[in-house]
Each structure stands twice: as structure tokens, then as C-alpha cells.
Amino acid sequence: MLRYLVHRILVMIPTLFVISALVFIIIQLPEGDYLTSRITELQAQGEKISHEKIAFLRQQYGLDKPPLQQYAHWVIGMLHGDLGYSFEYNLPVNEVVGDRLFLSFVLSFSTIVFTWAVSFPIGIYSATHQYSWGDHGLTFIGFLGLATPNFLLALVLLYFANVAFGTSIGGLMDPQYLDQPMSWAKFGSVLAHLWIPVIVIGTSGTAGMIRRLRANLLDELEKQYVVTAHAKGLPPGRALLKYPLRMALNPFIADIGSLLPQVISGAAIVSIVLSLPTTGPMLVHALQSQDTFLAGSFLMFLAFLTVVGMFVSDIALAMLDPRIRLAGGIRR
């Protein structure tokens, strides 16, 4: 077990390095750099910018150095905890990200809770009543959420909420509460805005989860020990929940690691449409304007979370399933 842990930790480090190189390449891939997009933006507004100014700015932003040097500078900075400087916001990256991280977390957490809360009962019902009308009907509703493009659904719900409930359009709360301390009114306003993204993002995730839970549970229910349990007179509820469900949960725990990038990615488009002050729109804008440090550091942060998350879920799985521990490896 210990050897396994150490091995996994050692493997994580080169993985992160490769990811950092990939991230850097991805940001630099489109032509030009932050300054070129800034300049074209200014020119589009009819403002002139002289060549000397451009050269001066390039030097200021450190964009005149060769890419390899920029990359090294960035990685070394990150290892010291310095995430770099955002060109667009003119602030250190931690300030820009930190502001939004909390709200992102709230949104992601609510979405995950919603997804699990909805898919568990439906999955269990579907597995135990296979091919019934209920099974088909509920699965259909679950899939409907998956099939509808998120951005359109978000916009329609936004309009509907405004017309039906008078909720202000977009944002995570009504504008007047933005600077004020937390109060019941503010909390209520946040809830009134939060339900839209949670439902839109959550419903795309429930279908997959229902299907997986259903499939796994079906597999487990075929097994011998369930038959034995029934034969021995165990009440059906316990026979279902105590043993097969625990086994069916294995892949969920294994998937916690990859849940995070998915939720953050799925949330990005919806956040853009709904104008939520979360990390998604910030990331997209940073990528579009090639704000190297902001985009790069944030992506590294995400990748780091994911890699650590996958590691943690492997540990959790090993602890949960003694067979894995004893057999010495993961059977995927």
C-alpha cells in the first residue's frame, strides 16, 4: 500500500510538468500575443498607438523575451507560489482568481449535490424496475437535460425567470447586494439566481450518472450473493442498499477526480451566458486575449486539483474496496 502511494506521488510530478508545458503551448498557439490583441482592440475603437509605445509595452510586459525564457520564468514563479501578473486586469493573478474562486466553488458544489441528489433515486429505481414505463420515462427526462444545448437553455430560463419572477438578468445576485455584507435578503437573492445554472449544468450530468449507476447496479444484482441474500430472507430494501449499492458506488468514487474539470468546463459556457462572476468566463476571456499568466496559472491550478483529486479518489477506492488493497492494484 505504501509503495503504491509513493509510486503514485512520484508519477504525479512529471505529469504536472508535462501539463504545464502543454498549457503554455496552448496559450501561445494562436498567432500573436496579448499585446497584438490589445492593439487591434484599440485600433478598432479608432485610437492610435505609436510603434514606440508598442515596443515599450512589450518590454514592460516581458513579451519581448523568447518563449522558452517566458515559460521558465513562469514555472519558477509558480514553484515559489507566485502565480504571475494578469495583463488585462493589471493585478496579480491570485487577486483576480481569488475573488472568483469562492463563487465558483459554491456553484460547483451545489451542482454536484443536485446531480447526485437527482440521479441516485432515479438510478436505483431504474435498475430495480428495468424496462418498465417508469424506467423509460425517468431515463428520458434525465436524457432531455443532457440533450439540450446548455447555452440556449440557460438563456431561455434567464428570460423566463425575469418575466415570471422579476429576477434580475444574469449575475449571481441582484446588483444592489453586490457590495453589501451577507444578509437574509442577499442570500435569498443568490438562491433566486443560483437555481438556473445549477439546473442547467446539473441536468447534463444527471443522465450520465443515472445510466452508470443503473448499469453497475444491474451488474451487481445479477451476482450470486444477492440471490443468496434473498433466499436467506433478507428484506429486499436491505438486500439492495447494504450490499449491491456499495459495490455499485465504486466507479463513482473513482470518478470524483475527473468530476472537477468536467464541472468547471461545463460551467464555463453557462457562466458566460448568465454573466456569472465565476472563473469560467475569466478563463475564456484570458485565453482569447492571450493573457498568458492568468490563463496559464489558472489552468495549472485546475490541473493540479484534478491530479490530486484523482490520487485522492484512488486512495479512497483502495480503502473502500478491500479487494483492491489486497490484490495490490486497481482493476478498472
Binding site: 505529469t15 508535462v18 432531455l144 444545448p149 447555452f151 459556457i269
Partner: protein, 387 residues
């Protein structure tokens, strides 16, 4: 052991028919002699929803071959006098009497105060719908000239069953033409994904060792990346001077290249399991080369699973294309796909004033659901030897 007396043996000399004890009923015979694919088909048929979905999809794909025939108007035909016109209803009854299907004409009022075009039904203008008629000229697949349509408007009238957009283009026709691009993106994308996943997963599963480690790390890296930045970067890197078709294939390539990890992992785990099976060992002992072992023995065993997984990935390709269009990275006008149509409907004007512009979402939902049900059915049927 104590030497005892010989035990009495009794072997009968009478003729013996081995099948007299246990005869197979015709049913059972059919079952046991059926090939693997046969059995899969039977299992698949049981899943009614999947069969229905499969037929529907088959219909859609056949339809895109003859989009020009099915659509009442051409992709780019505009009507300046019918901008933002609401959908026209087909009526069958007039004054209580059954008639040839017809639509009423529009009466247009240009409201210069609210800047809206106000349309009302003009019950005095009757335009019968024509079937199998000669309508607007087109070029089938851009090659063959023709003008036969399934339905067309009457000569002086209009047939906007789903309304028109801001340039007066028929929404229904655009949806039909858009199907061509969207459905093809799914297929081509999955083809790319399939190929890459099969090769890489196969190598990892069969050879193990460092190849396996490498591929696993690659998969892990790709999976820990949020999709969005990868899409954005790769789309932005597409050369600018490619023709629209080139961009189209570029986009499908990108979607396919970012999706193969699931397939590769499935292939790999199946191969790892099957490698230990007796029949593989037998084949190797009998002198079969690795290529023969893979092709003849291993692949047929998991192909069904892989096909099921692939089918289940197509919907994410189609939705991915719509998301890319939304971000402005995918296909853009003048190429028309469902994603492009939805992006054009992605504004408050469409939601509040002209809701029929959002109708392209319906075929997207139908196709995605259909692929999901089909994939479910295929997956349930994939291992016919399971109970």
C-alpha cells in the same frame, strides 16, 4: 490398498443414440447454433426504444442525402418581404369542408414606432401546398441540377412552416440543410476518435509494459484538462486560409482528437482481460502471429462493446459542435449547421420576440436522445452470452 475382488462392469453392446437422452428442441437448436451477431440482434430487438431510435436515425441519415429534395426552399433563398415571419399553419378545413392542405397568406404592417414587422393571417389569400412539385432550382450535392421538391409553396405564395429569420430565409429548410453538416460531424468525428482510440488502446492493452504506462499517462493528462481551453486553442490554431470545407473537417478532427480517451481505456481494459483467456493462449501456442491473434480472436470479442461506446460518444460530438459555434470557434455562416442556427438564435430578440428561431434545438435533442437510446440498446446487447 487392500486387493479386493474385481468389481462387476457392465457395458452394454446395444446400439446407442447419443441424442436420445437429450434432444434439442428446434428453439434451442436455433439458439445454440446461432452466431454471435445473430444473438446480439435478438437481444437488441427486445429493447424497443433502441430499435425505434435506430430506425429514426437511419431515416435522418437517408434524409440528408436528399436534403435538396426535402426542403421547400434552398439554403440561401431570401425573401425581403417576409422577414421574421412567424410560422404558417397548414389548414385542412375551410368553412367546415375538407380540402387540399393550404396555408393562409401574410398581411404585413411595418410598425415604425416599435420597429417591428407585424404579421397577421390574411384569410382571403389561400395558398394550397403542392407535393412532388417543381420548385426552386437546386444542385444536388452541388453537382446535379434539379428542381423536384417533396413539398413546395404555391406559385405566388409562401410556405414557411417554421417561420423565417432575419433575412427572410425559411427556418425549416435551413434545419434540413443544417442536418447534413451536424450529422456528418458526428460520424466523421467518431471515426477519427475510434481510429485513434483503437490503435492506442490496443497497443497499450496488448503490449503492456512501458507502452501501457505511456498511453495511460497520456490519457490521464488529457482527462485532467478542461475541454474548453483545448478546444479554443486548437480552433484558434486552424489556418485561416482554409476553405469552409477545410474548416469543417478541421473542427471534426479536433472534436475527434479530444474524445478518444474513453474508447482507448475501454479497449485497453478489455484487451487486458481477454489476453489471459485460454483461447488466446491456445492460439499463440498454435503459432498464430500477433496480428492474427488480435484480428481473428481478440477484436471480435470486444468489438460490440466498442461500437456501443462509440455510439454513445456521438451525441457529445454533436453537442460539442454547437458549443464551439456558440464560442465563435466552430463553423460560422455561411456554412449552416444546427450549431450555427442555434448561435444565431442565442439572443434576447429570439427568445422574447421571435421564438421560432430556437426550433433547431428540437432536432438536436431528438438526434442526441436517439443516439443515446441506440447506444444503450447496443450496449445491453453487446454481450449476448450474459444472462
Amino acid at each position: 490398498m487392500e486387493q479386493g475382488a474385481r468389481l462387476p462392469h457392465y457395458v452394454s453392446d446395444a446400439p446407442f443414440d447419443p441424442y436420445s437422452i437429450e434432444t434439442l428442441t428446434p428453439e434451442q437448436e436455433r439458439f445454440f447454433l446461432a452466431s454471435q451477431w445473430r444473438m446480439m440482434w435478438w437481444r437488441f430487438k427486445r429493447h424497443r426504444l433502441a430499435v425505434g431510435a435506430g430506425l429514426l436515425l437511419l431515416g435522418f441519415y437517408l434524409a440528408i442525402v436528399v436534403s435538396e429534395f426535402l426542403a421547400p426552399y434552398n439554403l440561401h433563398s431570401r425573401h425581403n418581404r417576409y422577414i421574421y415571419a412567424p410560422p404558417q399553419q397548414i389548414h385542412l378545413y375551410r368553412n367546415g369542408k375538407l380540402q387540399r392542405p393550404f396555408v393562409y397568406g401574410y398581411r404585413l404592417h411595418l410598425n415604425l414606432d416599435t420597429m417591428k414587422r407585424e404579421y397577421t393571417e390574411n384569410t382571403r389569400k389561400i395558398f394550397p401546398v403542392r407535393f412532388l412539385c417543381a420548385g426552386e432550382g437546386y444542385r444536388l450535392w452541388g453537382l446535379f441540377k434539379g428542381n423536384l421538391h417533396l413539398v413546395c409553396p404555391s406559385r405566388r405564395g409562401t410556405l414557411f412552416l417554421l417561420g423565417t429569420d432575419r433575412l427572410g430565409r425559411d427556418v425549416l429548410s435551413r434545419i434540413i440543410y443544417g442536418a447534413r453538416i451536424s450529422l456528418t460531424v458526428g460520424l466523421v468525428g467518431i471515426g477519427v476518435s475510434f481510429l485513434v482510440g483503437l490503435i492506442l488502446g490496443g497497443l497499450a492493452g496488448y503490449y503492456s509494459g512501458w507502452v501501457d504506462s505511456l498511453v495511460q499517462r497520456l490519457i490521464e493528462i488529457l482527462r485532467s484538462f478542461p475541454e474548453l481551453p483545448l478546444w479554443m486553442a486548437l480552433s484558434a490554431a486552424l489556418p485561416v486560409d482554409w476553405s469552409p470545407i477545410g474548416v469543417f473537417f478541421g473542427i471534426t478532427l479536433i472534436l475527434g482528437l479530444l474524445d478518444w480517451t474513453g474508447l482507448a481505456r475501454a479497449v485497453r481494459s478489455k484487451l487486458l482481460a481477454l489476453r489471459e483467456e485460454d483461447f488466446t493462449t491456445a492460439a499463440i501456442l498454435m503459432g498464430a502471429r500477433p496480428s492474427r491473434v488480435i484480428a481473428r480472436h481478440l477484436i471480435p470479442n470486444f468489438m460490440s462493446h466498442i461500437i456501443a461506446s462509440a455510439t454513445l460518444s456521438i451525441p457529445s460530438m454533436i453537442l460539442g459542435e454547437t458549443a464551439l459555434s456558440f464560442l465563435g470557434l466552430g463553423l460560422r455562416p455561411p456554412i449552416t449547421s444546427w450549431g450555427v442556427l442555434l448561435t444565431e438564435a442565442q439572443n434576447m430578440n429570439a427568445v422574447a420576440l421571435y421564438p421560432w428561431l430556437m426550433l433547431p434545438v428540437v432536432p438536436v435533442i431528438i438526434v442526441v436522445l436517439a443516439f443515446n437510446f441506440l447506444g444503450d440498446g447496443l450496449r445491453d446487447a453487446a454481450d449476448p452470452y450474459k444472462a
